[in-house]
């Protein structure tokens, strides 16, 4: 039986259908989770998709953290549930404090929609284990607020604890410089494109793996990220009774 994975739908989500499509291709049973619901319907993992949750007029993701569904997502994450935030979903996770750091406006203060290359820093996480190698992986970004920011101590801690999940890389596959406007177009500090929370069960990234999950779309190199989540969720679902018993 396919594993059930929830996709949160805020009124301004606009990558929900794309994410549902990519999850289904990876063998999951996607379940829509409406922003007003306080229960996650027993899903084995949650994806916060891209979009403009509640219009994002004040700041991306700032309103969404107060929604009923996000209270449920926070509790789920606190219990060790797998949560992946993509683009606006990453912004919402950061605003909710479920992952460290903040996403500032792109360095050039303009929305940017283009292909980037990222590399996985670790292949032993629930979100990357199906990747054959670190990459580089080609996939699109599409955001106005994607410049990853945290204070130097937090950044050092993230590096030390192995919680930098993805970095923007240049043509040689090396981490892109902060002022490399081509490889690191939003100017993210230390070229960070994705991070993990301290327990390793919540991840956020700015690029869109769901838009790079079929060869016809120009790249299928994001599919393994989605597949990693689906496989991890399936394992978590089967292990669930035991996990409850030990808590």
């Amino acid at each position: 039986m396919p594993v059930r994975i929830g996709v949160v739908v805020f009124p301004g989500s606009n990558c929900d259908r794309d994410t549902i499509h990519a999850l289904a291709l990876a063998g999951a049973e996607p379940v829509e989770l409406w922003h007003e619901q306080a229960s996650l319907d027993g899903v084995a993992a949650v994806v916060l998709p891209g979009g403009f949750a509640y219009g994002d007029y004040l700041r991306a993701g700032v309103i969404a953290r107060f929604s009923p569904v996000m209270r449920a997502v926070a509790a789920f994450a606190g219990d060790g549930g797998l949560v992946l935030g993509i683009c606006n979903g990453f912004q919402v996770l950061a605003e909710a404090g479920l992952v460290p750091g903040a996403l500032l406006r792109n360095r050039k203060l303009r929305f940017l929609g283009r292909e980037v290359r990222i590399a996985a820093e670790r292949l032993d996480t629930p979100f990357t284990h199906a990747l054959g190698s670190r990459g580089p992986l080609r996939m699109p970004i599409a955001h106005g607020e994607g410049c990853y920011f945290a204070d130097p101590a937090t950044l050092d801690a993230l590096e030390l604890e192995g919680r930098v999940l993805f970095r923007y890389v240049d043509g040689d596959g090396a981490a892109a410089a902060e002022d490399d406007r081509f490889a690191n177009p939003n100017g993210s500090l230390r070229a960070i494109a994705g991070v993990l929370n301290d327990a390793g069960n919540v991840a956020g990234l700015m690029p869109h793996p769901e838009r790079a999950s079929e060869p016809i779309l120009g790249s299928d190199q994001g599919a393994a990220i989605i597949r990693s989540l689906v496989e991890s969720a399936a394992i978590a679902a089967n292990a669930a009774p035991a996990a409850v018993g030990t808590r």
Binding site: N14, F52, Y57, L112, A142, G144, I216
Partner: protein
């Protein structure tokens, strides 16, 4: 005019209605004088923008019938069946005047308005293409407009989650005071969900949902889009509508859910003319009337006058005809999406649009008097005294150098063209748009037609917008016909069959005989080209009064085409594919440099006229390339257009990173061969083993084929050979070199950096 004189000016004139039009209104309301509110409603509905009163007689001449057409002109968007119960809805529309006043909101609401036209039909919007035209890119005002318009298109489209997959950006001095913002949207629907904009069934409820009604955009259509622009007119600023893409996103989802659940009998978006337009049009289409309860309309601010409520163009609103027993479900859907919803009236059987407030009837007008029976003007057009005609196809020209070729290095010309504002890479613009949301974009902006796969099928939709104002300025008939030829060709060279045409006709003041003649000629060119190429016109928009103190714009027939590719696996792109592939030119060069990018660059007065267009040859070319692609013979296919053959080869090289070694026979002037823009030509590459079959197939279609050379290396080499370029350059009395050789990296550099440099943007 003094203040005193202005104050005695009768109301109808102040509202922009002529005395003749007032007489016609009296006639249509039963011989009485209309009251002020009724007059205001007529003034909006009889504006050029809403009534098409000048263009309607011309538009009737367009071919509208075609294979699979489900809905044509007169509906919110054209709809064409694509098989398996699916259909595509598409339309292009202008938002020129609002964008000139307030570029961000003008462009943003242009996107919002055209998206509503699509989802009103029951289709989910899947793509936007924006065709933008501005004055000199070095001009400070132009730079302000470009920045605002691009941010507006992106700010709206990115948020609603519809990818911007293509379009155009053109600079031409004629647009200096009057930019063009033409936006095309495409949607996909299950055919049985097709919803029409009508209000059937007397007794049904008229329901308004979406944003509340405010004072923004009062008379936007009638004031802004239906009169010539003058400088410094702050009174027009409040007429610009203000968009809210988040509200639009909610409106899309709520509308599609209402349609999917069968809860509405008819649906109409509110655009120009606001509530007056939406109610009168839907009643007229259904042969019913609508009684509006003015007090029930949710408002954004207090103390609005009745006319303000009825003609406000507040954005993100929809109007539905709903059976009384469905009302509760409709309300529930709207409220779940967070949208205000109200019953604002009832469908009646009296054929009238009536307005009541606090028990008093404020207005009663036959619905059709506002819409289908609005006044039509038979305008007179006359050609300007000196007009250049295109040379007839096949006529040879004087081989002497007409343009300042002397001393020019063709490699330098090619680099200058590639780096010019009109031909350089559009990446700095389109990377501000989300072109991949929806996860259906197979080919996005930047190189040729846009391609979107249709999920769950093998098919793909292919779309292109094209307009040719440079030739249009010299010959408006030819400019329009060339635009149709280029847009359909861009679709055909991917392997797709063009399904239909939508058009945005941008012209000047129709009461000026020369401007009206340009419109007449444009429509004639559009009609002839569509007939010859076998594509129906399924809708569009006419934008007149595109004039500023600097003069009228160049006549611009902007053409949008949607095509269907049966098997997306057979898709062919314009970039070179592999080293060793053979390069062929299908189609013949014809003389004429006027209107070309080369002529604009060389800055010389050209007397040879623009190149001619042979529509039968164009049709054969497109049929031939589609067949060759379907048979798997073609590796790449690139249209020869702006900048001519040399630029077509250079682009294919830049996009692939592969060079080419070619030899071009020069029958005429080298400038015509290298940089001439005569239409109906395609640069095709194929594996060497397919070249004989491809050549044979082209000849069977009556097309000429010339082998040009081979793909490979890191340089583009074009050797000039033949009568026009034999022997030493001096022998021709010209110092033009006989070969062009430029590294692909240099071509790429010129192409990449041209636009930021032209606009003064940080590169």
């Amino acid at each position: 005019m003094t203040v005193a004189e202005r104050s005695v000016e009768p109301l109808h004139r102040r509202l922009g209605l002529t005395d003749d039009e007032l007489d016609a209104i009296v006639d249509r309301v039963g011989g009485r004088d209309p009251n002020d509110l009724e007059l205001a409603m007529f003034s909006v509905m009889w504006s050029e923008h809403c009534s098409y009163k000048s263009s309607k007689p011309l538009l009737r001449t367009l071919p509208t019938a075609g294979e699979g057409v489900v809905a044509g002109p007169g509906e919110n968007a054209g709809v064409i069946s694509i098989g398996d119960g699916l259909a595509v809805a598409f339309k292009i529309e202008s938002h020129n005047h609002p964008s000139a006043v307030e570029p961000y909101q003008g462009a943003a609401t242009g996107v919002g308005g055209i998206l509503r036209d699509i989802f009103t039909m029951g289709a989910r919007p899947i793509a936007v293409l924006d065709a933008l035209r501005f004055g000199d890119p070095g001009d400070a005002r132009t730079r302000h407009l470009v920045d605002g318009v691009v941010r507006g298109v992106g700010g709206y489209g990115n948020c609603v989650g519809v990818p911007t997959v293509g379009g155009e950006l053109v600079f031409d001095p004629s647009y200096i005071g009057n930019p063009l913002v033409n936006v095309m949207a495409i949607g996909l629907l299950e055919e049985h969900r097709l919803t029409l904009a009508s209000a059937p069934g007397p007794g049904n409820l008229v329901v308004l949902f979406g944003s509340t009604t405010g004072r923004d955009g009062i008379g936007g259509a009638s004031v802004l889009a239906s009169a010539t622009f003058t400088h410094d007119d702050p009174s027009k600023r409040p007429s610009v509508q203000v968009g809210d893409p988040f509200a639009e996103k909610l409106l899309i989802e709520a509308s599609l859910e209402l349609i999917e659940r069968g809860l509405v009998e008819g649906l109409q978006d509110l655009g120009a003319g606001g509530i007056t337009c939406a109610t009168s049009e839907t009643a007229d289409r259904a042969g019913t009337g609508i009684a509006i309860d003015l007090d029930a309309i949710p408002r954004r601010e207090p103390d609005m006058e009745p006319f303000e409520v009825l003609i406000s163009e507040s954005q993100e609103r929809m109007c539905a005809a709903v059976r009384p027993d469905r009302w509760e479900e409709v309300r529930e859907v709207c409220e779940r999406w967070g949208l205000p919803v109200a019953i604002i009236g009832r469908v009646t059987d009296d054929g009238d649009l009536s307005v009541t407030s606090a028990g008093h009837e404020l207005a009663r007008i036959p619905a059709r008097a506002l819409t289908s029976d609005a006044i039509v003007h038979e305008r007179a057009g006359s050609a300007p005294p000196h007009r250049r005609a295109a040379p007839a196809p096949g006529v040879s020209i004087d081989p002497s150098d007409r343009l300042p070729e002397r001393g020019m290095d063709p490699g330098a010309v090619l680099l200058a063209l590639l780096g010019s504002a009109n031909l350089a890479s559009r990446r700095p613009i389109f990377e501000q748009y989300d072109s991949t949301v929806g996860a259906d974009t197979v080919a996005g902006p930047g190189r040729g037609a846009a391609v979107l796969r249709v999920r769950g099928t093998t098919r793909a939709l292919v779309a292109s917008t094209d307009g040719n104002q440079a030739v249009g300025a010299l010959d408006p008939y030819l400019g329009a016909a060339l635009s149709v030829a280029e847009a359909t060709r861009n679709v055909s060279i991917t392997g797709a069959r063009p399904l239909g045409v939508t058009n945005c006709l941008n012209y000047g003041d129709p009461t000026r005989p020369e401007a009206f003649w340009q419109l007449q000629e444009g429509v004639r060119g559009l009609a002839d080209a569509c007939r010859a190429l076998g594509v129906p016109v399924t809708g569009g928009n006419v934008s007149l009064y595109n004039e500023s103190p600097g003069g009228a714009i160049a006549p611009t027939a902007e053409i949008g085409v949607v095509g269907l590719l049966e098997d997306v696996a057979l898709l062919v792109g314009p970039a070179f594919v592999a080293e060793g592939d053979e390069i062929l030119l299908i189609g013949e060069v014809t003389p004429g440099l006027s209107g070309s990018a080369y002529a604009a660059l060389a800055g010389a007065a050209v007397e040879d006229g623009p190149p001619g267009l042979d529509l039968a040859r164009e049709a054969a070319l497109q049929a031939g390339i589609r067949e060759a692609i379907a048979r798997g013979l073609v590796a790449s296919a690139q249209d020869v257009s702006g900048g001519g053959l040399a630029v077509a080869l250079a682009e294919a090289a830049v996009w692939s990173g592969l060079g080419a070694t070619t030899r071009v026979a020069v029958a005429n002037s080298p400038a015509v061969e290298l940089f001439g823009e005569s239409p109906s030509r395609i640069v095709v590459t194929c594996q060497p083993r397919f070249a004989p079959a491809l050549t044979l197939l082209a000849r069977q279609h009556g097309l000429s084929v010339e082998p040009l050379g081979t793909v490979g290396g890191d340089r583009l080499v074009i050797e000039l050979a033949g009568a026009g370029a034999t022997g030493a350059a001096e022998e021709r009395g010209s110092r033009i070199a006989d070969a062009l050789e430029v590294p692909v990296a240099a071509l790429r550099h010129a192409w990449d950096h041209g636009l930021p440099r032209a606009l003064g943007w940080e590169d």
